[in-house]
Amino acid sequence: MTTAPKITLTDGILRLQGDLLISTIEAVNWSTPQSHDAKAIDLGAVGRLDTAGAWAVVSLERQLGLTGQTIGASEPQDGLLRTVRDHMPGPAHPGAGQTGIIDELEAVGRRATSAFGATISIIGFMGQVVATLASLIIQPARIRWTSLVHHMQQVGLNAVPIVFLMSFLIGVVLAFQGATQLRQFGAEVFVVDLIAISILRELGVLLTAIIVAGRSGSAFTAAIGSMKMREEIDALRALGLDPVEILVVPRVLALILMLPVLGVIANMAGLIGGALMSWIELGVSPGVFQSRLASNTGVWHFGVGMIKAPFFALIIGIVGCFQGMQVKGNVESLGSLTSASVVLSIFLVIAADALFSIFFSIVGV
């Protein structure tokens, strides 16, 4: 139902015919030979004309220096041509892709200063949270108990199945891998020490912290970030309420209380998994496993693991809430900050774990 457009040059007049539409204009050879002799453009035989067609006609006018020399257009077509003529884009588009070495250097500088600024502000945020926590310990009546218990359930109780399963499997894997190595020396029974020390000292708490960072840290960022986007944080401030006290402290406190509990559960699950696998693979009975565990593994191995738990919790909670507070108006920043929150908190947890290892080896436990 559309007629293909055509250009003909007769008596110095460029005649256009057919339908000049967005779907047809590219089929036309606009650079007709000798068209530079044309004195006018005749649209008398044009059927339908849309903005794209009008753009093509106006471009042709400009190219031939015939602006305003278009004849034969119907009243609405003329109106459209006038509208397009008024809104023709400027000749040169500022190129977005030009970047010199100076721009590159500037970008590096910008990134460096913004990373520095972010470090300063996250430390500031941590100070704010710790100060609020301290003031709440002096005045416990101001603690939001309902919110605290709700978050304890969210980050603690609801995470028990996944933490248990993960740690159980880690115990199984350690026993299995340890057994194949230790069997070469006939030292199968030392698998108990291997499992107990690695789970209690490091893996139980560290892996729990990583799971919690992925599970609850991201949830904190997303929840606080969407509140920020919908101006709920500003509404709290306008009511004279402190968002740190109402939103951040219950979450961080819940994590500090629950992460050690989850760590104990992870330790137990890891030992159970290890004991089970030692029994199946090496024939170390649960009774032997238990007595060897009690006699050879000092309680400090457990203590070292547990001391780290509240610090990991503080890191995850602070990073999660801080990134949530950084969310700006758009949806994309929510997504990118949520993933940044998980990556940063896992990284900081592992870095803190390394520092703790050095510390404990200096202290000698």
């Binding site: 539409l21 849309d50 809104h87 949806v331």
Partner: protein, 258 residues
């Protein structure tokens, strides 16, 4: 006008769970007119729009656009049909990962095989037509104000020179000057491009300024259609309250003095 209506809705029933939004709704839209759809909050104005453009499946009823049934078409037919209308959602609904130029180019890119230069030039014309500065082309939606976002959404809606434009509350949330400018823009482009405009609105000034006809949604159907003058004479408490309330009088006075 005796020509067949460009949009015709017959016996439309839409339900969300137990809540019936439309119950036997009839509406005709004529080619080349600006029709304003008004109604209280929750009377299903936006739902009607979504049902017409096929984003929502009604429980019953027949909706034809350009004489073709929207509900019972093949995917290919629906795709072809969709090219002939443009929709501007509340707040613009720009794709947040694309800049304004890419947003306006998106329908051209998906529907037609145009060279990048043509696309860029057409996008620039559309963006200038809706009254945005040329440097807005490279901006991201998050960098634009609410009014500019609506304009960019409008530019995307008219990217393919559609025959019908559906506008969902184009002036909501704009300041009076911005809203009046948007009204003028709709009217100007309507006459330049020969559009049929389906306008969902709350804005009495828009209704006075640019709408040829008004359709009132109440009691789960179209209660009345007619010009603004006709609305003054309809004897229904809601219509009376809407078109003769204090705000309506203010809009009328403004129009008389203008």
């Amino acid at each position: 006008m005796t020509a067949a209506p460009i949009i015709s809705v017959r016996g439309l029933i839409t339900r969300f769970g137990k809540n019936t939004v439309h119950d036997g709704l009839d509406l005709d839209v004529r080619r080349g007119e600006i029709i304003g759809v008004v109604g209280g909050s929750g009377t299903g104005k936006s739902v009607l729009l979504r049902a017409i453009v096929g984003l929502l499946k009604p429980a019953a009823g027949k909706i034809t656009v350009f004489g073709e049934d929207v509900r019972n078409t093949s995917v290919a037919d629906y795709r072809r049909l969709r090219r002939r209308w443009g929709v501007m959602f509340q707040g613009g609904a720009l794709f947040s990962s694309l800049n304004v130029q890419q947003n306006v180019e998106a329908p051209m890119r998906e529907q037609l095989d145009l060279s990048p230069e043509t696309r860029a030039a057409l996008a620039a014309i559309k963006v200038k037509m809706v009254g945005l500065p040329e440097n807005a082309l490279s901006q991201m939606p998050s960098e634009l104000s609410g009014g500019m976002r609506k304009r960019a959404g409008f530019a995307r809606a008219i990217a393919l020179d559609p025959e019908i434009v559906f506008l969902d509350e184009p002036t909501a949330g704009l300041d009076p000057i911005g809203a009046a400018a948007f009204d003028a823009l709709i009217a100007q482009l309507q006459s330049a491009l020969g559009l049929t405009v389906f306008l969902v609105t709350h804005d009495l000034d828009s209704l006075h300024a640019i709408c040829d006809r008004v359709a009132v949604l109440a009691e789960r159907r179209v209660l009345a259609t007619g010009t603004m003058k006709d609305m003054q004479e309809i004897d229904h408490p809601w219509v009376q309250a809407y078109f003769k309330g204090p705000r309506a009088r203010a809009a009328l006075v403004q129009k008389d003095t203008a």
